[in-house]
């Protein structure tokens, strides 16, 4: 049986598995956002950054290799992850008190686990347009973290190409595949996987806000 070492634990893996795959299988989860089992590894959020044989790498994209020494829960990596989470919070407009994903949001959950009490950096308060054109689906770009899960779900699961990431640097933005740039003019449907895969409150189904009472939400 082939194994890697994760924070001193010996963890088995099969060929083709990434460090993240085998860590999750062994119930030794590494914090992550853009990764979701079953989707093509992407590696953009960098939250799952680990140190492998002395080098930083994202666990979700790194194939496991026999004897690999992986550090995850070290002070250095915790500081890095806290920094990454704070960056995500200041980059967008994350108003948890008014967000209907609050309590079931993976970004928020990851920040709780990282012990994030404050954003530390100066918030950017970017101006981003909301797309409420579709009768059933809302895009609140304020909350998008560019994890591209919707891009991957639309392409790989739904067999469509509704979403894409455009621009560069801080001007990076989520775009939809229509000449008008509006969701209503795409071929999306509310049953699409792409609508339900968003880790934050950027893509929401309309008419269903605040369904679950506080205290009973996914991460409460």
């Amino acid at each position: 049986m082939k194994t890697i070492h994760l924070d001193g634990h010996e963890i088995p893996f099969e060929d083709g598995q990434t460090v993240m795959d085998c860590a999750l299988a062994a119930d030794k989860p590494i914090a992550h956002l853009c990764h979701l089992p079953g989707y093509t590894p992407y590696g953009s959020c960098r939250l799952c950054t680990v140190k492998i044989d002395g080098r930083f790498s994202s666990a979700c994209t790194q194939p496991a290799r026999e004897g690999m020494q992986v550090e995850s829960e070290t002070e250095e990596l915790k500081e890095m992850r806290l920094g990454i989470l704070r960056m995500l919070f200041v980059e967008g407009n994350h108003y948890c008190p008014s967000c209907e994903k609050s309590g079931s949001c993976r970004l928020q959950h990851a920040a709780y686990n990282a012990g994030m009490l404050d954003p530390h950096y100066r918030p950017f308060y970017p101006k981003r347009e909301m797309d409420a054109s579709h009768p059933d689906i809302l895009i609140d770009n304020d909350r998008c973290i560019f994890c591209a899960l919707c891009v991957r779900a639309s392409r790989d699961v739904d067999g469509k190409a509704v979403f894409d990431i455009s621009g560069r640097g801080l001007a990076t933005r989520l775009v939809v595949n229509s000449k008008s740039g509006l969701l209503v003019d795409t071929d999306i449907s509310v049953e699409d996987k792409a609508v339900h895969v968003c880790p934050v409150g950027a893509i929401l189904v309309k008419g269903r806000g605040f369904e679950v009472p506080i205290g009973m939400r996914l991460y409460d």
Partner: protein
């Protein structure tokens, strides 16, 4: 006049399935990329509309909005600043009418003859107040750029010191297995900066599984302060093509692609003629243009760009030698590397091995700019000391030398004995010199802004961290405390997806450490308040 759609159709027929190259042509023709053209490309090439929008919004030299008849982009490297670009920027901005636009762009590779700007994508070096006024006057009189004085667009190669790489070698011609062996014996390493052994890379590509193979030449030199490939493209294009063909022969490729940064558009006619003149049976070289994206100098981002996508570095492994262009095994090497191969293959082998140091054989082309009498392109044997460079280019009173561009290392006076080479100072060839009158906090700020502008936006630490770094330095110039913040960002940036984010804080950290007094004005102001 053909409609936008008809124009797009013509380009598709002429250029085939090369969306980025078509977009560049559309930008040249219309001054922007109209949505109708995006729609036509989307329909004809079966690419989602949104993905083409993604391209246009990614590349700095493309735009969805019209930028006027005259779109000016002022080169914004630290060397441009040192040559007065910021004053010229405001001078030009005051004298432009409303059918022109003006903004900044990253280093255009004219540091030895700056400040420079691009007008409708064409480089205009050697700017001065009088040239700026002349330009403003041409704009005022609505003279089209094609009728502007030719000398405005003249780019000097400024080749100040040439030796082995430029020599005419007349020896037995090596190829195939013999050449691969020679490259190994020569211990030739890639000249782009990372220094991967060339023979090993080519061998890995040859042995990789795949139906086809590609040879890609990276002529995207976007590292601030680098302009040495310009000289090779200008004067040794044949040698470059020869090197690519030798590589193709070894790995079994039929297609070569020369990817040149868009800022070097002035070389277009020259390169097209050179390719046509050179042509060999069984191997064709295709010219691809970049469109303003530093990140495309990263090999996997460059491949994405050739495939017509945004230049986002790929997840590695797999590496290009096994999964490269269109998934095929691909060799990506720098212009200088291919030229070196061709020189080794045609008789330069022995001389090569006698040059340089133990771990860094041969010579290195350096682009020298900043505070010196003779900026330009210099070929030196590896192992040359910084001191010797400074003497050769007549840099007096040097305070600091930035080796390797914005992503490189900043040296102070005590380190001028250090040597260019893989064992000490590996570099793609950018050398920027700062004299004692310079404020290094300006350089730090310039580099930080550069990375913020050029971050591809894929990963969090780099997308956000580079902007925070620039902000921290701006706050330092306003008197804020920045050191602890910059140290924190330096840690988080190490989680970046690629080298851009990983090196974004490097020079800034060097400058903070080596020139604390340049940042102290800010600290003193804070204490006094």
């Amino acid at each position: 006049m053909p409609s936008i759609q008809e124009h797009a159709d013509l380009l598709i027929e002429r250029m085939g399935n090369r969306p980025l190259q078509i977009l560049i042509e559309i930008q040249r023709r219309f001054g922007h990329v109209p949505d109708d053209a995006i729609g036509q490309l989307s329909t004809r090439l079966h690419i989602p509309f949104s993905r083409i929008v993604g391209d246009v919004e990614f590349y700095a030299l493309l735009s969805r909005e019209p930028k006027g008849d005259y779109a000016f982009l002022m080169s914004d490297n630290i060397t441009d600043w040192m040559q007065g670009s910021r004053v010229l920027f405001s001078r030009l901005s005051k004298n432009l009418g409303n059918h022109a636009s003006l903004s900044n762009t990253s280093c255009t590779g004219m540091c030895d003859q700056g400040p420079a700007l691009l007008v409708n994508g064409l480089a205009v070096p050697n700017l001065s107040a009088s040239r700026i006024d002349a330009i403003a006057d041409l704009v005022k009189r609505s003279i089209p750029v094609s009728s502007w004085p030719e000398e405005f667009f003249r780019v000097e190669s400024n080749l100040k010191r040439q030796s082995w790489l430029f020599d005419d070698w007349q020896g037995p011609h090596l190829k195939g297995e013999d050449l691969l062996q020679a490259l190994q014996d020569c211990a030739l390493r890639g000249r782009g900066g990372a220094g991967y052994p060339t023979a090993k890379k080519w061998n890995a590509c040859r042995e990789a599984k795949g139906e086809g193979r590609y040879v890609v030449c990276n002529a995207d030199e976007g590292e601030p302060g680098t302009f040495k490939d310009r000289a090779l493209l200008q004067h040794r294009a044949d040698r470059l093509f020869e090197g690519m063909a030798l590589c193709a022969d070894i790995v079994g490729a039929e297609h070569g692609i020369l990817y040149v940064r868009g800022e070097y558009r002035y070389l277009e006619d020259h390169l097209k003629e050179a390719i046509a003149r050179w042509s060999r049976p069984g191997f064709e070289i295709e010219l691809h243009w970049g469109a303003g994206a530093y990140i495309c100098g990263e090999e996997s981002a460059l491949l994405e760009s050739i495939e017509g996508k945004r230049g986002i570095p790929r997840v590695r492994p797999p590496f290009p030698v096994t999964h490269g262009l269109f998934g095929m095994p691909t060799v990506v090497d720098n212009v200088e590397t291919f030229c070196a191969v061709a020189a080794i293959a045609s008789g330069g082998e022995k001389a090569f091995r006698s040059l340089g140091t133990e771990k860094s054989k041969g010579t290195k082309l350096l682009s020298i700019s900043g505070d010196c009498v003779k900026p330009g392109v210099y070929e030196f044997p590896f192992g040359v000391s910084v001191e010797a460079l400074l003497a050769e280019c007549e840099a007096k009173d040097a305070l600091a030398v930035q080796v390797g561009g914005a992503a490189g290392t900043c040296l102070d006076k005590t380190e001028f004995g250090r040597r260019i080479g893989f064992e000490d100072l590996p570099t793609s060839g950018s050398i920027m010199i700062f004299n004692a009158s310079r404020d290094m906090s300006e350089a730090a700020l310039n580099f930080a802004r550069f990375f913020a502008d050029e971050s591809c936006g894929f990963c969090t630490p780099c997308r956000v961290g580079t902007s925070l770094l620039a902000e921290a330095l701006e706050s330092a110039t306003r008197g804020g405390e920045a050191v602890s913040e910059i140290e924190n960002l330096n840690i988080v940036l190490r989680a970046s997806h690629c080298g851009l984010g990983l090196s974004a804080s490097r020079a800034v950290m060097d400058m903070l450490k080596k020139f604390p007094e340049h940042f102290a004005a800010g600290r003193a102001a804070l204490e006094g308040r």
